[in-house]
């Protein structure tokens, strides 16, 4: 299938893009790895595509004492290859390296993945576990939103029509932090059937277990207990409202248990 006709503009700056975004039916596109197929299937029918990959500030990197900020248009491949600073001592590249296939990683972007909010995508779950925050620029204001507040559901975010996700800030982990990430795909490169990310960083007082669902990823209560006493996982999952039939529930329990059991120190 071929896409319906649309206009295309390559924005040179954020202001350009924001102005263009005022047009009815306009949509922002970066790596086009998710939107592309939807265009061709005619599931997405934008009147205007605003390509933001030419905007310099969207590939900028800012290193601060407690965080590293990655521009929204930084690709999965750049993160996988260590071409950008890694505040997580290995967690980000490990996640990036297992997103789909290299060809997709070469074009797909961290910001695009968050803004698209596919429930089977890796970044929403992983970045939520890492406590990341997105910067969102709109015509009226710039705001900073934790990923768990940005992603609202399957393909649903808190981005307003005039807003663009510009960067993601990821906290630096402590030397003693451990990270685990498990996903189950039926075959290499496929979307995950179940996925869990765990960050245990007691030095910063930050411990989080995030599980992907059919909607938005869920932050599990009682993460500390589940890490200390993995046998309680089954019960926690049962009360965490993780829907799904028996098979799906079993898969989710398995990835949680394996993510916890597989946690690796993020030491230097």
């Amino acid at each position: 299938m071929k896409s319906v006709a649309f206009e295309y503009v390559k924005a040179s700056g954020l202001e350009d893009a924001a102005v263009a975004l005022q047009q009815d039916g306009a949509k922002v596109v970066a790596g086009c790895q998710s939107l592309g197929p939807m265009l061709n299937l005619r599931l997405a029918r934008p009147s205007l595509l605003i390509d933001i990959t030419g905007i310099g500030e969207l590939t900028k990197i800012e290193e601060r004492r407690d965080t590293v900020t990655l521009g929204a248009c930084i690709t999965h491949a750049a993160i996988e290859d260590g071409a950008v600073p890694d505040p997580t001592n290995g967690a980000l590249p490990a996640v990036a390296a297992n997103i789909a296939y290299r060809a997709i990683r070469n074009r797909g972007t961290i910001g695009g993945s968050l803004a698209h909010a596919d429930p089977a995508a890796d970044w929403p779950t992983a970045l939520m576990a890492l406590g990341a925050e997105a910067e969102i620029v709109g015509t009226k204001e710039t705001r900073h939103v934790p990923v768990e507040d940005l992603v609202l559901g399957a393909f649903q975010t808190g981005l307003a029509d005039d807003e663009i996700l510009t960067s993601v800030s990821i906290p630096r982990v402590s030397k003693s932090a451990r990270f685990g990430f498990q996903k189950f795909c039926r075959k290499v490169g496929e979307f995950a059937e179940a996925m869990c990310a765990v960050l245990d960083d007691p030095e910063r007082g930050f411990t989080r277990i995030v599980v992907a669902t059919d909607s938005k990823p869920v932050i599990l209560d009682g993460a500390d207990l589940m890490i200390r006493e993995p046998e309680t996982i089954g019960d926690r999952v049962a009360i965490s409202g993780l829907g799904g039939d028996a098979y799906v529930t079993q898969l989710r329990r398995a990835v949680i248990r394996r993510a916890i059991a597989g946690m690796q120190p993020l030491g230097r």
């Binding site: 075959k187 059937e193 179940a194 039939d245 098979y247």
Partner: protein, 785 residues
Amino acid sequence: MGANLTDSKGVGASLRRKEDARLLAGKGRFVGDIRFPGQLEVAFVRSPMAHALLTRVDVPEDLRSRVFTMDTMSGVKAILAKSGLEGFKVSEQPPLAKDKVRFVGEPIAMCFAETRAEAEDIAECVQVELEDLGANSDMLKAVQPGAPLIHPEWTDNIFLETFIDGDIEAIAKKAVIKVTREIDTSRQCMTPIEGKGTVAIWDRHVEQLVLYTSTQMPHIVRAGLSECLSLDQRKIRVIAPDIGGGFGWKGLLQAEEVCLAWLAMHLDRPVRWLEDRREHLVAAANCREHHYDITGYADAKGKLLAIDATAHVDAGAYSIYPFSACLEAAQVGSILPGPYDLEAFRCRTFSVCTNKPPIVPYRGVARTAVCFAIELIIDAIAREAGLDPVDVRLCSLVKPEQMPFKNITGKDFDMGDYPESLRRAAAAIDLKGVRARQAAGDRANGRRIGIGFATYTEQGAHGTSVYHGWGIPMVPGFEQAGVRLTPDGTLEVRVGNQSHGQGMETTLAQVANEMLGIDPDLVNVIHGDTALTPYSTGTWGSRGAVMVGGAVANACSKLAERICQIGAHLLQVDAAQIELRDAAVFSGESFATFADIAHTFYRAPQDLPPDVNPDGLEVVSGYRPKVDTGTFSYASHAALIAVDEEIGHIELLDYVIVEDGGTLINPMVVDGQIYGGAAQGIGTALYEEMWFDKSGQPRATTLADYLLPAAPDIPNIRIEHMETPSPNTFFGQKGIGEGGAIAPPAAITNAINDALADLDVELTVSPVTPRRVVEAIAHARGTEG
């Protein structure tokens, strides 16, 4: 595997494929690469419902010149693929739906524009009114009384019922072991890398409709077009350019081909339609859906005595041209006994009509499902008897001393040692070692391991005597090949079938080398063009090497006689004293090369005597094997797997194939066929499933939903060859093109069941998905839901 280190470039040499130079460099020419000035693009309006009355097709006024329906596509007849088998019910398939739609994706209207996107825009503007008739999405329900009739002139939804009787009761009395199972293979989609595509143009100069189409059988497509368009065959030229895989999907006359042919003539403009992946998944290339109720009887030693089965094949809405809707089920009835020596066999088959796309014979055709059914039964017998499945097979297989062997359904097994292939497979995969590991409770990273086997025969190159009985629109007879020595002494070989990945441009050049000593690099194999090649039913049924290989050999042999006659004159000796080798004729020390001989005949005929053979250096010759019921290659597959009980994931740890394809023309090409087939078989075993919901909607409409095996999912398959020549073919070669795809679902599922035997889990549905594994374990443990 590996290159043959001798200098031979003939039969038996692992010559690198000539065609790869262009294909690997991206320089092949596929239908999608063909462009004519003024070419228009076509898109189809397709049915959104599975079974409905088509009450109205509404085309906006301003688009009416760009949209055609069956009513406005004047003079086009329905596709008719009858079978002569008694009781066969005929389905009429109008190329565009008329009055009724019978599956989701059935073409209703044809739209054209300058670009495909614009053609799709037009298609979106066409409004279709449908009245739901209730979909038959489950073949077992479609055969029940009261199911909505798909073809209203029929009395039920059954294309054909067949019955082969046997004295099962006599065996039942003495059999110690009886196992009964329900076994299913899910519907699949063939998904060659290149989808279907057609460019049609009216060639004013030669007054021919020229159809460039991705087909395995150009001559058969021509015949079908002629019937649907009421156009003489002399007015039609069908060309198959480079083809990116067929697997059966390109072995039929397609409704879209008829439409495009008509449109090119109607508009007198070149027109093109390229099937996109969604059309392919939704509306095309469906295959494999079988259901078996099957009982196996065995003695105390596990020897298989009898099979009693009822098989349902979901044939979809229409009978496809030329293979018809009953090929699969007819095969089930004839090959379900597999490689085994049975005392009794009873089989009832139903070719069921449903509201799904027509089923098309996919690589292996019914053999994959048949092998799945009988090989699962063998393992079930082994478990029942407390024996190793290998031992049960060894005592049940036809033995080498029985060869040649006519089996219970009259199949002529043409030599081989079936048990040896299994013994070698068991040794290669280290059956003893695996059993020891299992006994010791050894796990692969916490996972249970299992080992599974499957042995099969692959009837290939079956000819006249097999096909005429089915009475379908195509009966293969003598295969012809043309060979022509060109004026410079190089060789053109012209064949009417088509190479779409088989490496025929290489293997047929090797045959020419074997017969004439000419370097394969000096041989051009021309194929897939009705104007340039002798008639052929095409490339299907693992017939190329046997039939076309034989035809090329015969033609070369006759050409050699003509070459020798002229060579003898040039050397001034008697033709009987001439020896032909290395593209030259020799008499003692003196010789004349093919170039000398061809030059003399074409360009210096004054040097020839007046009584020279005027037929020249071009020969068309035909071939059919001594026994034309088919060659029987065979193989044993062995799979070692690990199963993750918690998430149901299966990992293939090792995979061994011991194959006997008779004399191998090019062992490397054979290995390539086996690897590719096995990869598809692994897809059938673990991934591929085209499922439909109750309303007949296909639910795997993108490649994110329809999972195909990719490189990381395929283990390092180890192949061993046995070479028992067939006594019936030119070089002793047997058809092997489909074999790799036949056994993996059986071998892998048997391995999974072996791993889970302690848990009392037995899976009987392909593909074995993680969900099916987890649910079967939960079921066995009584912890469902």
